[in-house]
Amino acid sequence: MPIIQLRSVKKDYFLGKVIVPAVKGISFSIERGDFVSIAGPSGSGKSTILNMIGLIDTPTSGEVIIDGKNTKGLSDQELTRFRHEVLGFIFQSFNLIPVLNVWENIEFPLLLGKTRVPKNEWKSWIDFLIGEVGLGDWRAHKPNELSGGQRQRVAIARALVTKPSIVLADEPTANLDSATGEQIIDLMKKINREIQTTFIFSTHDAKIVNIADHIIRLRDGTIIENRRNGEDVAEEGAVDTPVED
């Protein structure tokens, strides 16, 4: 079963009285353990789709099914709990908590409630992640003492700390130089292979796109290409015919 299914998902934004359609009714699935790229130019709907998969935004219509659970109609509290358990986030501008040091930033999600990591394993797990992202000597530093690349590594470790099923990365390389950007993508790919976490990242950088197993290309809120392991994926359900309850 796919880990993520989007069914006829539409998202409209309201700018005053003007309705701006950001995502125009799209459907696709993502398989467990894949390294997925959502590609497209600015304004194509990448971030909106990631936000909806990440349950921090809700579709205007359509359904988002994560890990077998239809998220439609969940309360804010339930969505938050679900995010905490199942999802990890990496942001374009790192978004670390400035008053916490590297170790505390990585630990932070563990402190927010029950996770898949037993409490007696927290320390060794965080130490392992810090080692993985190569920040062993920086654990006591605050974010403002780190370079952009280092900050993004902290963010990756933070995203992984709860052992989520899915890690979402919204343009994780956009604020980094290309060499650092490639290192970050390589690191994500390495972790993807090692611990079989599903990674979904959005980008408009053609070089990075091609590292992915599964590429979903967008333009103007619709899918123009959906290829997995070099083959086209058949559309599930017709575009523009949202499922109504």
Binding site: I56, T80, R83, P98, V99, F108, L111
Partner: protein
Amino acid sequence: MNTVLPRIAARNLLRQKKRTILLAGAIAFGIMIVTLINGFAGSFIQNVSENFAYLLGGHVFVSGSEYTASGRRISVIRDDSVIMQALSSSGQRWASLQKTSETTATLIFEGKSIRQNLTGIDLAHSTMLKERLALINGSWDNLAWPNAIIVSQSVAKKLNVLPGDTIVAQFQTVTGQNNVGEFRLAAVTVDSTSFIGSIMTYVQLDYLNSLIGLGKGEYMSLGIMLDKLDRSEAFATSLYTSMKGMGLKLFDRSTRESDGSMTPFQAMIQKQNSETWTGTKYRVYTVDDVLAQAKQIVVALDTGSVAILIVLFAIVMIGISNSFRMAMYERIREIGTMRAVGVQRGEIRSMFLYEALFLALAGAVVGIILALIVMAILSLITFDPQSPVFLILKRGHLSFYLPPLRALGNIAIIAVLTLVAVYAPANAAAKMPPAEALRTVK
């Protein structure tokens, strides 16, 4: 308990030091002013009561009233053995007893005269006199003279008398006869609580009794000095019960709970005036009963201080509310991030409220410390002994007493007001949809 959110809240305070110092400083200033007022009010009543207690010679008093054959009401305790028995059986401790008679007299010396209240006590054995009064002239030894009189410096000056001089006094006996007596000036007083000295003239109890028509061993009122002022009410109640148990006639102490149009003490006196009885009827009262009006001043000061607290803080709270609104916008992406990684709405709100609470507590504690320092400095100032503010002073110095509960109450008020001020921005931060918060570009 999850301590990470309070920890972040505390660190956020330190992150914007200028803002925190300004806001906490405003809170501290307000708390300081209010604490000073409370501290002054707290000691005001104590000082007034203590000073009056010495002026009147006790914290708790028993006085007796009876009607003479001619229907005149006089103040007298003929036989105090039952009172003494009641005192011992009340099970309470006291520091000293003082038997007092008094009369108003005109003192005359070489054509000069002055009207004074003469207080008759056992001069030679009074510890109170030596504790509270300082002599400028004469000697404590002279107090052994049977017709000794102690006057204040101002009275001595007015009459132009020196120790050893004989002063003539004109007065009425308890039954209303005119009488005269001769007193010999033993000492002239001045002391730091000068006003007591300047209005009090002390004479020998036995000699005064013989002049005003009371017998030996009789007197008008018994003053009971306690080791602690705040025990007076409990002491009076227990003495009252004990005396009642001995079968003595007593004026009801419950009249003190009267309607408030007059002080409880006035109410008791009025009741006494409207009654007739036979034999001796006693009343038991405390220095606080006499000073009920002074207590009203304290209530007014305290109420005023709460009003000031609220007005002052209404202004401070507007500043705090705006600051937190700005902080919320400054941290909007952090809020979005926290929400994304699993922080619940309520926890975002709590985080801001923690921050506000820490700010309020820090400000309040600093404010109280500042107030204590200011109090310590003000207490060092020595006032002129002749100063009319004597009654509110403690041995010539301002003094402060801050009731701990009131200090805690002020802190609580500040904490609640701050939380109220910050609730709206905290709630707005909590309700911000995470996607929108994350989209916002600072």
